[in-house]
Assembly symmetry: D3
Homo-oligomer: 136 residues x 6
């Protein structure tokens, strides 16, 4: 048997704002700059989900990519796409929706839905020039 | 002399919502679907500005691309980047910020700043799969 | 009113073979080279559909992009995706599925489904380096 | 001395079909869906070959990229490009040409041609949204 | 018969410098800024050649893309690739190698090699964000 | 706390030549081929800087991406952009500017400016098809 990493890319569009409610407006402005705009801004996020596991001899698959795509749609896109991450998404009620926090929320949502024998890793592009990976 | 089209690409990130205030909420929902989310969503917009004109024999330039880049930053990015198009941008106070309307607003902002001998055309990507051009 | 071109990109994967049944095998090999392989080869095709028309003042739309995407899926992807263009697609029974012919077939399929006031143009990528447009 | 990973990207176009001959047609259809089309479909595959090794002080190279490109052409593209993976490629006579299996076949073909001191890794894009890596 | 535009993309890497010998060093510096570096800088240029013509009924081709690719290699890449445009390329002995001038030189080199019934157009990317087209 | 890798992409354009002064011209030509052109050639380099560290609970950041972007501009782009790597850049006075050596120079320049608790990794694209990573 051989172990392969399979990767599926999906995308969603969302609004967000970087803001720490325990800080003054001045400190929020100083730390987050234009990302702190109280009227929000937004991004086209690209998310890549990587699963590592053994190739099944009968199917030649590590994981059915149609099933993986559907899982990302059910767990991630249905929650995040065309939403305001701060206002509409339960998971960010007490967490600032930075790319670093979004990528961990996506991982946590998917990890519990994927069998334990698979390693899971998430890459999230906030823009073409800024992107993050978790676990590191 | 020869005429060449020169093109410069820039990008900005913004939140928006598609909503027609003269309609009921039901009709807005029916026409605009998830783009009508009252809490906004957002995009990484890519804008390409095309200028057509004669090549200057002394410089070999149609237009100084550094000057064009600065002009786009001054007139477009400073107004739109990390903003809510509906709430923060004067030009969309009475216009729905669809891609079709944004591209015309960008054209109108730049056209008056560029000498008349140049033809101007704008391409705007809202996502990798949805984009618009003006004038048609 | 202002006229804008709106563009929607979709993709499909298909097998094909370039072969002219009125020629000898030698001439087919000489003209089409490796694209003539009797066992087929294939591509990830990207198709961009452009519609030019007036922006509706009520919606800010030239054309509802969700409706355009659905139309491309119904008329093009349902016929071509994961198919053998030569064997499975009625439209290529008597036409060699070169990019030049595929792009015209796509145009003809869509043109009759789109109201006459819109201009329609199709771009088809066979590979990242080979692509075609119709009408020219 | 320092160790660097060098990467070379090449591409090929091929037809294939996912089909397990030990299953009924119904089970093949159920598991592989439209990828099971008996008339084939195809892809533009992109392959990235990564070699990790020490930088030679005289050349500043880990590996001559021209030589690596030629090796990929000789061993991979000559076998796979403009071919039907199931019918034309010896290595898939008894293996289903899923991305997971193709990436391992490519690795095995190249590993024996590259000196042992180099680590080798292969990334294979079947589409822009589906891709695999081996070894994991 | 139907007319189609076919496009082929190729690339080359070259060094250049923007410098007008009839100006003082100060004026060159003022107009061309860092592009005037006497020690040169360089780019990965991408060139797209578009031919518009009628589709041949026998071949389904406007123009054989292999032949077009070879022509671009013979006439453009062999002259420009891994060269210093100012020092190594006859065509720029008396012309500043701006993108606007390079694109016209490429057009002139190819136009005479392509039969008159085809319309020819060239797009040249100097960077992902700066590109030009000729004829306009 | 959770560890995340954050990545920032920047670009620069430069000229270079591959040449080992301890070798004869013949041997330089034989080993480096067209990359040995004495009149230089050049590239649009893309550099991705990856930092791995713990997410700060107050900011939701591993590292301020604006600060990272500024650091890359100060240490890398200011030295390399629109320069001749062999002639203008102190760091390559005695090192051949291959991608393998450039990526290590970039790492060394940035590593000393970034706090020790972060892991640092650099990816450098010389072309779309040739790229390197350090540390391996």
């Amino acid at each position: 048997m051989h172990r392969v990493t399979v990767k599926r890319k999906e995308h969603f569009n969302a609004a967000h704002r970087l803001y720490n409610p325990s800080w003054s407006d001045e400190k929020n402005e100083q730390i987050f700059g234009k990302c702190n705009n109280p009227n929000w801004h937004g991004h086209n996020y690209e998310v890549i989900v990587s699963l590592t596991g053994e190739v099944d001899e009968q199917t030649g698959y590590v994981y059915d990519m149609k099933k993986l795509s559907d899982l990302i749609k059910d767990e991630v896109l249905n929650r995040f796409d065309h939403r305001n991450l701060n206002l509409d998404v339960e998971e960010f009620k007490n967490i600032i929706p930075t790319a670093e926090n979004i990528v961990k929320v996506i991982y946590d949502l998917l990890r519990v839905k994927i069998e334990e024998q698979y390693e899971v890793k998430i890459t999230l592009y906030e823009t073409e020039r800024n992107f993050v990976e978790y676990p590191a």
